[in-house]
Symmetry: none
Subunit: 196 residues, 4 copies
DNA sequence: TGCTAATCGAGACGGTACGTCAGGTCTTTAG
DNA sequence: CTAAAGACCTGACGTACCGTCTCGATTAGCA
C-alpha cells in the first residue's frame, strides 16, 4: 500500500477542495460540513480527498494555510511606531474586529475546536501557522524591551499570553463581548505589569 | 405536540443517562461518543434522551452540572490568607493539576468545544456554571482591593481575565505546557500590573 | 396477572375504539393504521386497547363484527324467486359492486390479509362471520336441489366454492376486473355443471 | 437525485439479499421479517437494499422471481395425455401438496397478502409470474377444446378461474382443508359444466 | 511519442449513527 | 378497579455519511 506520489498530484483538485471547504464554512456550521459535501461542491471524487488528507480537520487546516498565505504576508510583522501601547492597541482592535466578523470567526472557531481535540493537529498548527505570528509578537516586544520600555527580566512568552490570552479566551468561550474598551482596559493593566 | 411533562420525569433514567455520559467520557474521546452509546450504557431508550435533551451537548452540559454539584460546594470560595499572590498561586497550581489530568481535562475540553460552537449553550454555561466561580474570584480580588493590595481603579473582570485567560487559552489550544513555573511567572507579571 | 373482568368493561370505550378503527380504515391504508392512532382517535388510553384486544387484527375483527351487525340482518338470507340463476346473478352483481367500492373493499382486504396470516383469527372469522353467510348460501342451494334444479349428488360446499371462489380470488389477487359480464359468464358455466 | 446505475449493480449483493430473504421466510413469519434483518443476514448494508428495492414487498417479489426461475422451467406446461380430467387431477393434487407445505405456502401467502394491498405489485405479479402459468393453463384447455372435450363457446379464462379459484381461495382464506377428495369433487363438478 | 501506471470523477458497497415512530409495559392520577 | 394519559424500553424505520472499493477515462513521467 504505497502512499501516493505527490509529484502526480493534481493541483486543480487540491485547490478545488480547499476552496470548496472555505466556501462551505461561510454557509454551514462546521460540524455539519461533510467530506461528501466538500467533494461534491469541489466536483471531486471522495477518494481524492481521502488520498491526500487524513481527516476533515486536515482539510480544514490546509484551507487555513491557504487563507493565511492569501491575505497575510509570509513573514507577518507588528507595527512599530516606537509607542508599544499604541501599536498593540491598533493590533488588538484589528484582531477584535476579525473575531467579531463571522466570516473569519466561524472558520477560526472550527479550527480551534479541532485543535482542542487533536493533539497532532495542534502541533502542526503551532509549528506552521502560529509560530511565525508568535515570533512577530515576540520580536515587537523584544524591541520594546531593548528600548527600555519593558522590564529586562520579563518573560516575553508569558507577556504574549497575558496580552493575547484573555482576548482569545473571551472570544472562544463567549464569556463576554469583545470591544475596543475591553482592549484598552486589558492593555492598560497588562502592560503596567511589564514595564521596568 | 406538547412538550413532555417534567413532573412525570423518571429521575432514575435521568441519573443513569448522566452517569453513563460521565463514564463514557473516561473511555472514549468525546466526538466518538454517540447518543446510542449513552442510551445503551445507561440502559435507557434513545427516545428518553431525545425527549429530555436537545442534543448530545445538552446531555454533556447536564452531566457537568451534576459533576459540579457533586464535588464543588454550592458557593465556591477562594482561599483568603491575606496574601493574594500566595492564594492565587495555590489556586492556579491546583487548576493546572486538574487541567493536566485527563480525567478532568477531557470532559472539560469536550464542553469547551461545544461552547465554542453553540451560543445558547455558552450562555447557559456562563449563567449556571461559570458565574458562581467567577463571582468567587471577583470576591477574592475585591477583598484584596479593599485591603489596598490592588489598585482602586482596577477593573476586576479584566483582572480575572488576565489571571485565568492565559492559562485556559494555553490549555485549550495546547500552545505550551502548563507548569508551576508558568503559573508563577504569569502571576508575577500579571499581579504587578494590578497593584496600586 | 388475572385477565380483566368483562363485567367491568366500559362499553363507551369499546365502541369508541371500534368506531375509530372503522373511521381510520376510510382514510389510511390498513397497514399504516397503528394502535396509537386508534387510541388517540378514540380518545382512549393505549392500555385500554391492549387490555381488551390481543392485536390490531383482533380490533379489526371486532370492528367488522360491529359493521356486519349494523347493516346485515342477524340471519342473512339469499333471495329465492325459484329461479336460482336469476337469484344468484342478483346476489353476485351486488357483491361485485361492494368489492369494487373502496369503502367496503379496503377494510375487507385488510381483514382478508390478516386471515391469511393468522390461523386462529381465520378460525374465529369463519365461525362468527362467514358461517351464517355460508349457511344462507347452502340453504338457497339446498332448496334448489330439493326443487330438482341441482343434481342430487352435488356437494353443496363445493358448489359454493365454485360459485363464490373465482370472484373472491379475482378480487383479492386483482387478477382481473369484476364486471357483470364476468358474473354472468361465471354463473352460466358453473351452474351448468351442477344441474341434474 | 438520479436513480442508481444498474450497470454498476453488484450481482453478489443482489443474490445475497434475495437468498437471505428466502432463508428468513423459512424461519420467521413474513410480517416479522425486517429490512434490517434481511440486510444483516445477507451481510449487506441497509442502503444497498433501499437503493435497489422500493419496499420489503419488492424484495419479496424479486425473491419469488428468483425462486420461480430456479425450479420452474421458463415456459411452464401442463401435462397432456389426452385425458383432461386426469391431467388436471394430477396438476391440482400437486398444487394442493405445495399449498399444504409450509415451505412453499408461507412465502406464497406473504406474496399474496402483499398483492392484496399493493396494486402496482399485483400488476407486476400478474405480468411477470402469473401470465406464463395462466397461458399454459389456457393452452391445455384450448387443446381439450379443439379435441372436442370442452364446449366451443366456453370462455377459457372463466374456466381457469372456476378450476383454480376455489382452491386458491380456500387455501388463502383457510376456509377448509385442501385434500385430494376436495380436488376430485371440485373437478368433477367444474368440468361437467364445461363439456360440449 | 507512445506505454503504462497512478490519479481522477463517480458512485456502489458494508457499516454506524442519526432522529423518528410505534409496539407493548408500567406508573400516575382521577373517578 | 377501570380508565386516560403518557413516560419508559425496545427495535425498526428510512436517511446521511463514513471510509473502502471498483470502474472507465484522463493524464503525466519514462522509455
Amino acid at each position: 500500500m504505497p502512499s501516493p506520489d505527490p509529484a502526480r498530484r493534481n493541483e486543480n483538485a487540491r485547490r478545488a477542495v480547499l476552496d470548496a471547504t472555505l466556501d462551505l464554512l461561510q454557509e454551514v456550521p462546521y460540524p455539519r460540513i461533510t467530506i461528501e459535501g466538500i467533494a461534491s461542491r469541489a466536483g471531486v471524487g471522495k477518494q481524492t480527498i481521502y488520498r491526500w488528507w487524513a481527516s476533515k480537520a486536515a482539510v480544514l487546516f490546509d484551507a487555513f494555510l491557504l487563507l493565511s498565505a492569501r491575505d497575510g504576508s509570509d513573514t507577518p510583522q507588528l507595527p512599530d511606531t516606537g509607542d508599544l501601547q499604541a501599536d498593540l492597541t491598533l493590533v488588538l482592535r484589528a484582531t477584535v474586529v476579525e473575531l467579531n466578523d463571522p466570516r473569519l470567526s466561524d472558520p477560526m472557531r472550527a479550527l480551534a475546536t479541532e485543535l482542542a481535540q487533536d493533539e497532532s493537529l495542534a502541533e502542526a498548527y503551532h509549528r506552521q501557522l502560529d509560530a511565525p505570528l508568535r515570533e512577530a509578537k515576540r520580536q515587537r516586544l523584544r524591541e520594546a524591551q531593548e528600548a527600555g520600555q519593558l522590564a529586562d527580566d520579563l518573560d516575553l512568552d508569558v507577556a504574549i499570553d497575558i496580552i493575547w490570552g484573555p482576548i482569545l479566551n473571551r472570544w472562544l468561550q463567549r464569556s463576554g463581548p469583545l470591544s475596543d474598551e475591553y482592549v484598552d482596559a486589558l492593555l492598560r493593566t497588562a502592560l503596567r505589569g511589564m514595564r521596568p
